[in-house]
């Protein structure tokens, strides 16, 4: 895995947190006011408006509870993949809304799921999956049910 390039290194890291070491962490942020958000940015806090150094990076563990899921059956062909080296999303795929243990709720693609058995409230974990189209190994973040 360490030979692979992260598709979106600004958003997540291969290394997990101390609490959840076996799953990639998400690159969130925390404001001086206490608000925890994803992804990290320094433009300004949505709750209090502090900006710049008041917003500090915080690693969010790659584990949370499933809030909702939906399998997408129609996906516009024109929706661009981030770049030509990356496989586009091809329907059907399943999207999940996950409330992270560390606060924010994120939405992304789920892997290794059977739509019929997915239940809101079940524990989901982050995982990196290959998304490259060519020889270059590229991985992107997905969520999958915890085993």
């Amino acid at each position: 895995m360490s030979q692979s390039a992260l598709l979106k290194p600004a958003l997540y890291a291969e290394q997990g947190t101390e609490k959840v070491p076996d799953h990639p962490a998400l690159n969130g942020g925390k404001c001086a006011c206490g608000h925890v958000f994803f992804p990290m940015q320094t433009y300004g806090c949505e709750v209090c408006g502090r900006h710049g150094d008041a917003l500090q990076p915080v690693r969010l563990s790659g584990r949370g509870k499933l809030v909702a899921s939906a399998t997408v059956h129609m996906h516009a062909a024109r929706a661009p993949a981030p770049n030509a080296e990356v496989k586009p999303h091809e329907a059907p795929f399943t999207i999940g809304s996950i409330a992270l243990e560390d606060g924010p709720t994120v939405r992304t693609v789920l892997v290794g799921v059977d739509e019929k058995t997915l239940k809101p409230g079940q524990t989901m974990v982050a995982t990196l999956v290959p998304v490259g189209t060519g020889a270059k190994a590229i991985v992107d973040l997905r969520f999958t049910p915890a085993t």
Partner: protein, 381 residues
């Protein structure tokens, strides 16, 4: 202290007009907008030269659509402004026209919503802040996720949610301005192409082209221009808001709840006394969310009222008698203006086969990407 629309001088809707909402065609936007405006002027019984300002709600046409269209009515040299607020563009245009007339800066204003489908890059993709998979999560998947959450929380089956579409297609079949004018059975709705989650195509609004126009006027203008006061419908509340921090996935329903409450308080109307609601049912689940947020019933109970026919034309409260976004359609700029037009027709008793008898109070609700929310209350004495 800041004022509400109700504190300003009275504002009335005195004319309404449409160009049918329809799939994308070769018709230039100018020839969608002009027929709607001419119909609204004729409905009001006034001339274009009586209109003192124009508000153009449009999301997809591009910059400066207004004068190139309005000049064909005779270029009067009067002010015009374009308002873009995503799905709520037309509702925002209506609000600001009402504020101008209410404030006394104009006596008669035009609100015209006009649009054609076009590719406009959404600005939130240009903030410079990344996202995990937003390219895979379009609006119908946002609402498919909310459907999944609602269904689990309240033990509601997908075929129950689809009943919203059956009602709204039935209403749209009676509306000559609607994009979809065909009644559908539950089997047809459920048997359509799956889109996302349990949503099927007939549970998602069509985004086509069209136009809707309303003329608003002050009491002074109604007297001066000889407009029939019996056909004037007063705008008794206008409220607007945007998503506050921490709203997460339920933001649309949260801002709907607060904004409808503010509008009803302004109009001094109780939720259960509203006769007609035109709401943002771009996807079936939204109608359930928003009637509950409005306070017509408790969370999870909307489906029972829907099954009892409470939201039918002739029921306790006719919800989206126009057909709503699902059947009337959602051409973006026109949508919010068309809601106001439908409510004006209903309150005047001019809605023909869609008439909800005895309607005195109507509420129009839109949300737009962002999220933003607009609510207006219209009443006749």
């Amino acid at each position: 202290m800041a004022k509400t629309l109700k504190d300003l001088r009275s504002v009335y809707v005195v004319g309404v007009g449409w160009h049918r909402y329809q799939p994308l065609s070769d018709t230039p936007y100018v020839m969608l907008g002009l027929p709607a405006i001419r119909a609204a002027l004729a409905d009001a019984g006034i001339a274009w030269t009586d209109v003192e300002s124009s508000y153009i709600g449009t999301g997809l046409l591009g910059m400066a659509a207004g004068r190139a269209m309005l000049k064909h009515l005779g270029a009067t040299g009067r002010p015009l402004v374009h308002i873009e607020n995503a799905s709520a563009s037309g509702s925002a245009a209506f609000r600001h026209a009402c504020i101008e007339v209410g404030a006394g800066i104009a006596d008669v204003s035009l609100v015209i919503g006009v649009d054609k489908p076009g590719v406009v890059q959404r600005a939130f993709t240009k903030t410079g802040i990344g996202n995990l998979a937003d390219d895979a999560i379009v609006p119908f998947t946002h609402f498919a996720l909310l459907t999944n959450e609602y269904a689990h929380r309240h033990g509601v089956a997908p075929q129950d949610v689809a009943l919203v579409a059956v009602k709204n297609h039935r209403n749209g079949a009676l509306n000559p301005h609607a994009h979809r004018q065909q009644a559908r059975t539950l089997e047809e709705v459920l048997g359509g192409r799956p889109v996302s989650g349990t949503l099927t195509t007939l549970q998602c609004c069509p985004v086509g082209e069209g136009a809707a126009a309303v003329i608003i006027a002050s009491e002074d203008a109604i007297k001066r221009l000889g407009i029939d006061p019996a056909r004037a419908v007063r705008v008794t509340a206008s409220a607007a808001s945007s998503e506050a921090a921490g709203g997460q996935a339920g933001a649309d329903a949260a801002i709907t709840k607060d904004t409808i409450a503010a509008a009803l308080q302004q109009a001094q109307v109780a939720p259960k006394t509203v006769d007609i609601v035109e709401l943002h049912d771009a996807f079936t689940i939204e109608e359930l969310h928003y009637v509950e947020a409005m306070g017509i019933c408790k969370p999870g109970e909307a489906i029972h009222l829907l099954k009892e026919g409470a939201f039918d034309i002739g029921g306790q409260c006719a919800v989206s008698p126009s057909g709503g976004l699902i059947a009337m359609g959602h051409p973006i700029g026109p949508t919010g203006v068309g809601q106001i037009g439908e409510i004006a027709l209903q309150l005047r008793g001019d809605a023909g086969p869609r008439q909800h008898k005895g309607a005195k109070t109507g509420l129009a609700h839109m949300v737009g990407l962002g999220a933003v929310c607009y609510v207006h209350v219209l009443q006749r004495p």
